[in-house]
């Protein structure tokens, strides 16, 4: 018997990272802006995305969405009412989306015919942070009902985000949302992060959000 140390020095998620890099290359070549939307369950990702898709379509932009959930195609059916092509990804118990799932669900779509592709991740503030999906922008969403200290509780995800969206601002006052504390906490975890204060119901903040998308998409 001989004992030997074998140096591997490789990323554990190397396969996912390689697939994500391949997707990123495809997205970039096709000229489509890809966003990965991450939040807890119940933050209002679907509502926010539905409004975003509707507004973008009104402005003539070509959009599509992939939506991840453990089970059901309820969200895909909801989003499809916007008129955009939507596909549901059911992970059957897996708590996050992986690059391989994205690649598989893009089959048959002409990416070059799209301006924006939104990926709505599984509702979870922990696991999606490790899995690159090839997106250009990772957006973390936080609703006013969730507590101002959520960024401090889930720092890894907030730290990996490029932009943050506060949802349900129309009920902020009723639930005693401490806006300054929430914004301060986000900046502690992710210095300089762009924050959008929105309500998909009233349309508050949507103009700023759409302007941001337009600027990043060109």
């Amino acid at each position: 018997m001989t004992t030997r140390i074998v140096e591997l020095r490789r990323g554990i998620l190397k396969k996912n990272d390689e697939l994500a890099a391949g997707l990123r290359g495809r997205f970039s070549a096709a000229g489509v802006l890809v966003l990965n939307l991450v939040s807890s369950p119940g933050t209002g990702k679907t509502e926010f995305l539905q409004r975003t898709l509707e507004e973008l379509r009104k402005s003539g932009a070509r959009t599509a969405a992939l939506v991840g959930d453990l089970e059901t195609d309820n969200d895909a059916r909801r989003l499809a009412t916007s008129g955009a092509p939507v596909r549901q990804i059911n992970t059957h118990g897996i708590c996050h989306l992986e690059a391989e799932m994205i690649g598989r669900h893009l089959e048959g779509w002409d990416l070059a015919a799209l301006d924006y592709l939104f990926i709505e991740n599984v509702g979870n503030l922990v696991c999606p942070s490790s899995y690159d999906l090839g997106e250009k922008i990772r957006v973390v969403l936080l609703s006013v009902t969730e507590g101002e200290d959520k960024p401090l509780k889930y720092p890894t995800l907030f730290n990996s985000a490029d932009a943050a969206v506060i949802t349900k601002m129309d009920i902020a006052e009723a639930v005693g949302f401490e806006r300054e504390a929430a914004i301060r906490n986000m900046h502690e975890i992710r210095p300089g992060i762009r924050i959008f204060e929105t309500s998909a119901k009233t349309g508050l903040g949507m103009a700023e959000w759409l302007a941001y998308l337009a600027a990043r998409g060109t």
Partner: protein, 123 residues
């Protein structure tokens, strides 16, 4: 609870590398895990015993080296370790920094294996 997915990726990668060492048994697997990966060691250990069962990794030890977050502080012109992931400020001068130099690692560092001596092979 993505630790099971992560551990499964570790097992796959180790088994792949074992192809070069037929018949070898794994004694230890060493990982490097940064504080920004949201991976919990207890959870890894729990999943590890399940994921390795019946493989060449069965009974091996999982050793996790935890890496703190290090950012580059432009004001101090040096890399500094931050005490907690609750605040991305330089502990020396208080400036924010998003220039993360360490803490996102999720790597297999090395494995320790035991090889059977091939019979008749000169040592």
């Amino acid at each position: 609870m993505h630790e099971l997915s992560i551990v499964s990726s570790v097992v796959d990668a180790v088994l792949e590398s074992l192809a070069a060492y037929p018949g070898a048994q794994v004694k230890q697997v060493r990982l490097r895990v940064g504080a920004l990966t949201a991976v919990v060691e207890d959870s890894l250990q729990f999943c590890y015993s399940i994921a390795t069962e019946g493989t060449a990794l069965d009974g091996s030890a999982l050793v996790v080296q935890a890496l703190p977050v290090v950012v580059h502080c432009a004001a101090c012109a040096q890399d500094v370790e931050i005490d907690s992931v609750q605040s991305f400020r330089c502990p020396r001068c208080g400036q924010f920094s998003m220039d993360v130099r360490q803490g996102r690692e999720l790597e297999i560092d090395s494995i320790e294996i035991e090889e059977q001596e091939a019979e008749g092979k000169p040592s």
